[in-house]
Subunit: 242 residues, 6 copies
Amino acid sequence: MIKTKICVINPATVKGFEADVYMEAKKNISQDTDVIVVTVDKGPASIESRYDEICAAPGVAEMLKKTEDEADAFVINCFGDPGVESAREITRKPVVGAGSTSMGLACLLGERFSIVTVLKSLESISSEIAYRCGALSKLASVRAVETPVLELEKNKEALVENLVKESMDAIEKDGAHVIVLGCTGMAGLAEKVAEGLKRQGHEVPVIDPFAAAVKLANNLAQLKLSHSTITYPKPPEKQRNW
Amino acid sequence: MIKTKICVINPATVKGFEADVYMEAKKNISQDTDVIVVTVDKGPASIESRYDEICAAPGVAEMLKKTEDEADAFVINCFGDPGVESAREITRKPVVGAGSTSMGLACLLGERFSIVTVLKSLESISSEIAYRCGALSKLASVRAVETPVLELEKNKEALVENLVKESMDAIEKDGAHVIVLGCTGMAGLAEKVAEGLKRQGHEVPVIDPFAAAVKLANNLAQLKLSHSTITYPKPPEKQRNW
Amino acid sequence: MIKTKICVINPATVKGFEADVYMEAKKNISQDTDVIVVTVDKGPASIESRYDEICAAPGVAEMLKKTEDEADAFVINCFGDPGVESAREITRKPVVGAGSTSMGLACLLGERFSIVTVLKSLESISSEIAYRCGALSKLASVRAVETPVLELEKNKEALVENLVKESMDAIEKDGAHVIVLGCTGMAGLAEKVAEGLKRQGHEVPVIDPFAAAVKLANNLAQLKLSHSTITYPKPPEKQRNW
Amino acid sequence: MIKTKICVINPATVKGFEADVYMEAKKNISQDTDVIVVTVDKGPASIESRYDEICAAPGVAEMLKKTEDEADAFVINCFGDPGVESAREITRKPVVGAGSTSMGLACLLGERFSIVTVLKSLESISSEIAYRCGALSKLASVRAVETPVLELEKNKEALVENLVKESMDAIEKDGAHVIVLGCTGMAGLAEKVAEGLKRQGHEVPVIDPFAAAVKLANNLAQLKLSHSTITYPKPPEKQRNW
Amino acid sequence: MIKTKICVINPATVKGFEADVYMEAKKNISQDTDVIVVTVDKGPASIESRYDEICAAPGVAEMLKKTEDEADAFVINCFGDPGVESAREITRKPVVGAGSTSMGLACLLGERFSIVTVLKSLESISSEIAYRCGALSKLASVRAVETPVLELEKNKEALVENLVKESMDAIEKDGAHVIVLGCTGMAGLAEKVAEGLKRQGHEVPVIDPFAAAVKLANNLAQLKLSHSTITYPKPPEKQRNW
Amino acid sequence: MIKTKICVINPATVKGFEADVYMEAKKNISQDTDVIVVTVDKGPASIESRYDEICAAPGVAEMLKKTEDEADAFVINCFGDPGVESAREITRKPVVGAGSTSMGLACLLGERFSIVTVLKSLESISSEIAYRCGALSKLASVRAVETPVLELEKNKEALVENLVKESMDAIEKDGAHVIVLGCTGMAGLAEKVAEGLKRQGHEVPVIDPFAAAVKLANNLAQLKLSHSTITYPKPPEKQRNW
């Protein structure tokens, strides 16, 4: 297998999480893969709305251009896939979003999946990603723990409990067979949520969106595969100022 | 009917078209409706890719905030609906995109419609808008005259000819019953395209996306209707710098 | 803007509502648009079933032929769109139904809509209209106040209350983001229902199907657009007696 | 098996075909089943448009009421299913349309089917029937021999040839695996069309819509099954004049 | 009508039910049709999982080859359609499964249907059959009485009661308009379930999947129709040992 | 990353390819992952029909039971996913099929994909896999080189040429943006096909289904994820002989 290097781009401006993200990425990847983690210079503090997404996307593009030569594949570290579609137009190296990747994986593990995310208000955005990656017919529901992204770290135990509770409802009320955690800020919790569900009688896969995205980026780099230039053609040259 | 005021936001930075846009809007609207036309300060020269769209969206948001108090409804003057979804989160006044509006109208006039746009590379973007506004099951095809936006004005006669040619193919090869012109830079040409098609045996509606959007904005303002706050909730307060 | 004239055809035989309908239409339309209101000579007293619809459709066609030269666009004043599809075959002037029009509008204002109509038994008919105009993927549910059409006028306050109650359930149980009132006999109530919902915490558009249809008819007449002759070809000449 | 009686209602007014229809029905049904054939008193000479359908539907309802006590199940003898939906509201005995029945059967015999009908202008009507009976996802295309219904009898040999030609295109260009003849005036020709296709290398089922409908009516009568009262509730009592 | 002979293949190895199956088949078929009933030599005792299905399918193929010359059409006597798809590749005589047949029939009788089967764990398998026969858009839900196949006979009264209870929930909670019994071991109970539902206010068709399949097999044999060779091409000659 | 072991099961009986398969697997996987390759004892020589699939599935189940304790994840080495669904019921370790995996991956790399497989007759089978894994809305077409599986090795150069030719048609006629090679016997050719397409002007991902499946199996083992027990419940204990 060729040696590859993955670049994780944090699309929100809050700094200080880089080391954690690095550790989480390394945990999920073969040892011979290098990882770098960068954070955008401009954008919103966190991403919880379409407005946040458009504030984040230009910074993602800028950071991608800066780091393009330094890695073989890129992960945009947010479940909302902010700036992923446009980033794919400006580079031929694979760019991977955590939302679409984990939904695609969920489709391969069971009949229907539910997303358990931070805020119910993200439902429309999540459905749109599901449409885009072809997973819509498998999406049972979007549920939320109603905790803002920047407060996820505050009480991890309560968070896991809430994730289990919403996942149980997704399974028993909405017919989910697979659970997708709907925020990369929930990285590292999937196993605990799965255990909680098992204790209550349901043995279902719980997908960590960050781990899924890092794996896919690594796979694509190793397989020398990238997104299609027909779907993502190079943008025409022109003046753009912002 | 109450007197209303529509604000048209040009999301690309090329200036000098404001008077034309104003005239075109006035042509399509009741006399007792006022129109203002503004152009974003920052963004791409024209919008022909996802990358252009994310470059345009922040400027649209900024301009919307500046003009929010001056009008009753807003039209984003581009078929790709750049910044429409995020703009709807930051204002409770109706914000209307030319793409979704004209696709919605097409659904009401016949079994299936085709979009004839500037560049084939816009196909995926157009399908995504169709999905978002529920029109996907009615979309027969996306065709293009392969003329960049900023060259549309150069030879209007040839442009109409090409639009008729692609529309004929859309009807005869793809099964379209309705034609949607896929760029607001084609404003004012729908009638000529319809005539061209009629001369070749097909009497079908040809939708001018700019006219459709201006009409809908005016209707919404008069009916005191706007987009749903459940689909478009107000973004949480937070730091955003770009 | 050209001066246009709209003809509203009441497809049920109960007379005496023409003045009210006229006022309601004028309220929703630019002052320079003329309105006439006519009622069919033959048909059912009200329209609440497929059987009523087929009883109504021939009368609609007859009345349309009588009035075709007197107006620029036609509104069939019933949410079930009775006779709309066949009427479009016999005239090249735009014919608009209240059901399809308001569903098309709902698609442009939010992720999913529910219809709140008079009788639950109209569900299948409503879904079929949604299919026909491409809105099916956005239809969350059909709910009903279980009040026959001809009793809607009896107690408007109770009616609004029931509409709010069912709309609340549509939002909270069925996931609706937009409400469509499912009977043109509910004309003029949308604003009150919206207020009732807002008081209970949901700021969503509530669509008045009659107002939406009158607006669209007026728009089409002004834009010189009509339905497609490919979808609605002229019926062959032949003997038809009924 | 219980002895049953089927009533075939011709929804177009052209008389003189009753004996042929009777023979065709008897050919396709167990000997212990009785058949009667009746023709509506009012309606169009043939059914080739939505306008024809609404002209036919009231006559179908009238005839159904007249004959309701004389048979155990009813077949409306037209591929467009005119008046079938409304007829199901006014009787609890099974009412069967040739269009929906043959599409339902086609779904059980192969991956996708095409309809080969009289006039291309019937495409939208056919798709709507396919939607209604759940067969839309299996419908590959609608093709036509462009022969009006009342001229089908003129040259049967040429008709079969044209049916084979269009069926070949349906198979080779549209991906059809099953052919449905799209007019009950084509009754008795399916076997010849199948032979023609076989000679050209394709062994596929060719469905005779009249035979399929007669079979289903007989089956339902024998199984004591009928349509659902939830989908087809009894219309409320009211005045209806036409 | 030609005289035909139907062969029912029991795909599970439990013997001793042949006489009952024979009686049930004869009850549902014209007297001039012969019936034979055979049971596979190898396979599972009953069919309640995908694993049971693959254990059953080779035995079905073997039995079909043995009996191919003795009948005009074949019914695989199980709602899961085990081995139906592959059987259709190895014979040109019609092979009919009880699951797809009864779902196809349900689509013709109402807006949406629910399946009430033995075990909830069969949901995914049932949905897949619905997809395959085009009925997926009409499938409201899959419910179960949670009784293993081989215990169905133990207490028929309790079984009917449970079927009624789940059917009521299907109608009132899931929006079903038609009920399909989801196991051929429930043959003969449809009428009783329908009566139970009627007593509780719902007059809806309840489909006996075995009766539906026998009818269809008989119809196909009489109409000389079979499945498409394009969907079910003859398998290439090769060595196969199992 | 934990050290894992993948077992590849060849579901067709032709022996002698194990070393090649092993090399191909090792090429696509991190060095610290072990691979074993086994071939079923009973089944068809190759898999090119539904009949082949049911002949193969019991042998796959048998081999899986034999090797279950020796590996952490299983790959069924065939694009038709024979026996994958049933295998998932009998083990809690991840079982991966090449067809569903590569279709899921294709969905993440572009708007629509086409499958280029060995025989056109596999179209229906491929669509069914696409349905099952949620990829159907992204499937543009299934094309074939019309070369039986066991002749793929004969002339690799001609095979690549044919794959390029069909892929070009998939792109230019069917609208594919991504190509999926539809047979694991084509392992190792993706890069050459991609180069051929690039020389003709199309830079699109070409997916090697075997490589994709091996990667996914490895990912799942490392992430400790497996398929859902709700979709794939454990089969009830019972007698099964075959």
